[in-house]
Amino acid sequence: MDSATSTHCPYCALQCAMTLTAHGAGVTVTGRAFPTNRGGLCKKGWTAAELLTSPDRILEPMMRRPDGSFAPASWAEALDLIAERLSGSRAEHGADSVGVFGGGGLTNEKAYQLGKFARVALGTSRIDYNGRFCMSSAAAAGNRAFGLDRGLPFRVEDLDAAGTILILGSNVAQTMPPFIGHLDGARAAGGLIVVDPRRSATARLTDDGAGLHVQPTPGSDLALLLGLTHIVITEKLVDVAYVADRTVGFDELRRSVGAWYPERVQAATGVPAWQLRQAARRLAAGHGTYILTGRGVEQHVDGTDTTTAAINLSLILGLVGTTHSGYGTLTGQGNGQGGREHGQKCDQLPGYRKITDPAARAHVAGVWGVSPESLPGVGLPAVQLLASMGVSGGIRCLLVHGANVVVSAPDAKQVRTGLEALDFLVVSDFFFSETAALADVVLPVTQWAEEDGTMTSLEGRVIRRRRAVTAPPGVRSELWILHELARRLHSPSTFSTDPAEVFDELCRASAGGLADYSGLSYDRLGAGDESDEPTYWPYPAGSTGTPRLFLDRFAHADGRARIHAVQNRATDAPAATGGILTLITGRLLEHYQSGAQTRRVPELANAQPEARLQLHPATAEQLGVVHGGWVNVTSARGIVRCRAEVTLDIRHDTVFLPFHFPGDQSANRLTGGATDPISGMPEFKTTTVRVRAVAEHAEPEEMRVYA
């Protein structure tokens, strides 16, 4: 008998609503009416259910044998071994010898439980997650400016009424396609402004009078934003009353951007002065104006400052905390918002609390039934956590949940070396991801359609993920795994296996925090299988939630937003000679993150089976590269070998690689490990590389290592 279940897509943070119909052979996906996706889905969503029955799926725990191969094991065997190895490491090398790496795709319940498990059952401070690679700079900037970080502090559908939308460094047309329907109003008004070094699918939405594509050279976003701010100030376009009533710090900003006149910005960015003026004037022209940032401007060593510059521009235009305009950052991973609120971050406790705050520690320890003193302090952010693998005093054991760091972390080759140097690696996944392939124990876990839970979307809306089918018999939920491990580790607290119970505990733990969920419960989120209540946090007990934030005040004690003047760092872009170019990375429509899932969907894999290096025809001609021909791309960190895609859609000084592919097509073999000093976000978007045409069967210039 068929049964229909209302849930949401497993992939990105737009969390499109879908209906899953289970029938004998499997599950059928259909789109479902919802304000963000309006019944539509992208290619990834439509094909999501194919992974439930993928032949690649791991269906029982796998343990590595002495000869290096994997053999199936019982859950009891696997969990006993893990508990033994972790407690052994803890006894011998201290609690901080065990690390935990989480993910922005985990449900709120899992993310919460993972943070609790690390602090209480393992007693380790060494927990962080892959969201450090995505959202940490935007989060740091939002917290600094507004006192609170909710990616979009307004509803996605509020964008429909905007006359002007500035998108900086985000290719939404490919990363969350149904989102672009919300740009139609601005496009009709000729007000979509897209900043991207590539003529991306999103940039193309500005064609035919729909707006403006601004194409700066990579790494110059901060100068660009300082320039726009300069124009707004010098041309007297500042919302003076708003700045006076709702912000502090404007004078410092005004002085700091005085030097960034349009012609100087032109020289730094490659964007002509007239285009800067046109963009600044359009932003100030009213009619509902939104400024949105994405990873393209955030994933830099100055990502926090660049995001801050975008926020400053929004503030002096009087956009934030109004009924008609705003600033937001486009969260990428499915639960990238909730994942950064409930304790997976090395410096946070549930409810977006600081782990260094004694009151926060006392509150959370109270909910967990442990003493505040027993909670560890601040750990290491992701890049540093991974860099500590195999290093004296670093982590010796690692648990990975919902992440594929061999592909997704910067300087991937070094990460692989670190993982290999660990005493013990446990990976929970559906598949033998490139990271799982290096593990000592791989634990098969449930997929989205097989579990209950909650996700918090890019607009801070808490939504229900509902179980549509029963998981294969050998597969377990991470909640169950954490419960079993905690029991074996004699944890002083309890770890429920029931998502609703975990959520209730999470809500209590978050009470009084910035991300306050205490008025929520599974009942409140929509009891039946049909409904989706519009529940936006903060949602303290007794409230009805907060669709638009900051309407009356910002989350700082005095209620005012902070304008924090930032300085442009000196850029030393390389001379483009002899094939030296700047590499940027990003996503393709067909794939999601490290591709561990989407590369296993035949329709998606067939459409984009491999990484291709995008480069401009003039650059290609210079280097003797032909469309479809092979190239070697080298950086100080490593080498990638792939085919070339010659296209006019990219600047002549820039090349692009998607980051979804493993092995010698892995873009993150090239990226470095430099991080933002405030957020710990790694630099992904400007890497100096040398591109060289090679023969198809040329020997790769380093050993190919496959697990």
């Binding site: 889905l41 483009a576 002549h652």
Partner: protein, 546 residues
């Protein structure tokens, strides 16, 4: 020859107490230096006294033309926070002149008579507007004079410019001009350098009748080749500014209603150019008289080495428009004046201020100093004017057909020079690219803003140009938008972005018997994302339906 003082703690026996810094000059470069030194002041490692001749705190001179025509506010000119500096303990004296540097005593004498002791002295005295030789205007030979005790007379000495004649350098000048612009005055600008042209264009845009008078064939003749200059002059005329070339100004005709007031500029050929206000824009000269009188080596500016230290006195530094950076001559070096000179641009001045303050901070904190100040690349010159785009940099002289000569002039083995050029004078467009061994070595771009921006990046980075140079011209053409004019019904044109569905996929589906947008959606997923492409699907259907 130069007396070598040991700058380290030279005035400070035993090295006790914070290092005493005196900064002479409080313009944008001086202010940047002061801001950057603040951490050392906060840390108690340094004290800082700033002496500025203008009666106000530092402001952004780059925007002075905008301010002079009323386009922006005084507030927008702020570049520093003097309150923060004062709160940190920096002593800032505005409206104060320095009349002497006493190198042996390690003091400076102020116009007030006060003597300020220093361990390090930083000169950021900037530059003053040149006053050309014109009958009716007194020229002051500053380098022969001690600076006056009255700061207000620093540049005019006892010979203020006549009424109706002004330079455009400081706030007072700007206010004089602003009043004239607001009253609808006719403005004559003498000199067609960057600043003169920027101001003339801004004044014309603000509604003033404006005329630029220059000698020679082309404006910006220091930066542009003949082609670029000719096209630029045409663009400026189109923007409503009269351009009077080959005009050698000789004297000024005055109205005389008690106090003489500017009436007309008279040229060597007898031409009279009437107006209400004459704005002199004939370049600037470094204020070096203090340094000269103190016996410091001076050329077109105070001579400093690559670390911005005076050639003569290792306790004295110079930055910005008053500094002439050149290698200190070795023994027996020729006595010829060193090449180069102050750039007159703000960017290099700011970089010097940042670097020097960082050096001091590192030294005082006892940590390793950063890398040396990189040599300033040849400046990129651009006009800050809306609607008239001109950018030039590097060596723009080589002629299209005459590159052998350029090769030879540059010396053997210095690389092959080649020139690519595009000229469309009728439409005000001109680009010239000069490469040496394929690397961009100089360029001029007029009326091609996007091209200019890209050439600037390539030039600054020392990059190779694409073999097909015309690529760089097409940035400003309609075909730059690759989608414009592209065939929307080409087989590989994407229709549905959400699902990556092309025209080809849809036509196949039509061939397979699908006859409605909904059926095509079911078969191909086109239109099943955001739904924004259903109109396009209908078009494809209509066109390809059997």
């Amino acid at each position: 020859m130069p007396d070598q003082f040991d700058a380290d703690r030279s005035g400070h026996p035993g090295g006790a107490g914070p290092e005493r810094f005196v900064l002479v000059g409080y313009g944008p470069v001086g202010a940047r230096f002061a801001d950057q030194l603040l951490p050392a002041v906060h840390a108690g490692l340094a004290t800082l006294t700033v002496v500025g001749a203008e009666s106000v705190d530092a402001y952004n001179r780059v925007l002075i033309a905008d301010y002079a025509v009323g386009r922006t506010d005084r507030d927008a000119l702020e570049v520093t926070d003097p309150l923060a500096a004062r709160a940190a303990g920096v002593r800032i004296l505005t409206g104060t002149s320095v009349t002497a540097i006493n190198r042996s005593l390690r003091t400076v004498t102020l116009g007030t008579g006060e003597a300020l002791p220093w361990d390090r002295l930083v000169l950021a005295t900037g530059a003053r507007a040149n006053v050309p030789t014109l009958d009716g205007v007194t020229r002051v030979r500053h380098n022969l004079l001690s600076p006056p005790a009255e700061a207000a007379g620093l540049d005019s000495a006892d010979a203020p410019l006549p009424r109706g004649v002004t330079a455009l350098r400081d706030l007072d000048d700007a206010q004089t001009i602003l009043a004239a612009v607001r009253s609808g005055a006719r403005i004559v600008v003498l000199g067609a350098g960057v600043l003169g042209l920027e101001f003339a264009l801004a004044a014309a845009q603000a509604g003033s009748e404006t005329c630029v008078v220059y000698h020679g064939e082309i404006p910006m003749n220091r930066n542009l080749d003949r082609g670029g200059g000719t096209v630029l002059a045409r663009r400026i005329r189109q923007a409503g500014v009269s351009m009077v070339k080959h005009a050698r100004a000789e004297s000024i005709l005055f109205h005389d209603d008690g106090v003489p007031r500017f009436d007309a500029l008279i040229c060597a050929d007898g031409k009279q150019i009437h107006g209400d206000l004459l704005v002199l824009s004939c370049g600037v000269g470094a204020r070096t008289e203090l340094a000269s009188l103190a016996g410091l080596s001076v050329s077109t500016g105070v001579l400093v080495d690559a670390s911005l230290r005076s050639w003569t006195d290792l306790g004295i530094y110079a930055i910005g428009d008053c500094a002439h950076v050149a290698p200190r001559p070795g023994p027996g070096a020729s006595a010829a004046p060193p090449a180069g000179g102050p750039s007159g641009l703000i960017g290099p001045g700011w970089r010097q201020a940042d670097w020097l303050a960082a050096q001091f901070r590192a030294e005082l904190a006892g940590v390793t100093a950063g890398p040396p100040l990189p040599p300033e690349p040849d400046s990129v010159v651009m006009l800050k004017a809306e609607g008239v785009d001109v950018v030039a940099a590097g060596d723009t002289r080589p002629d299209l057909w005459d590159t052998d000569k350029a090769d030879h002039a540059a010396g053997c083995g210095s690389g092959r020079v080649s020139v690519s050029q595009w000229a469309d004078p009728e439409h005000g467009r001109y680009v010239k690219m000069v490469t040496r061994d394929g690397i961009l070595n100089g360029f001029v771009s007029v009326g091609m803003p996007r091209t200019a921006a890209e050439l600037t990046l390539l030039y600054q980075r020392g990059s190779e140009l694409p073999m097909d140079r015309s690529l760089l011209l097409r940035f400003d053409g309609p075909d730059f938008e690759p989608s414009a004019g592209a065939n929307a019904f080409a087989s590989d044109a994407t229709v549905c972005w959400c699902n990556g569905v092309t025209v080809g996929t849809i036509t196949e589906s039509i061939g397979g018997g699908q006859t409605t947008v909904a059926c095509i959606g079911t078969a191909t997923r086109a239109g099943t994302g955001c739904g924004g492409c259903t109109g396009r699907i209908a078009e494809v259907l209509e066109r390809f339906a059997p």
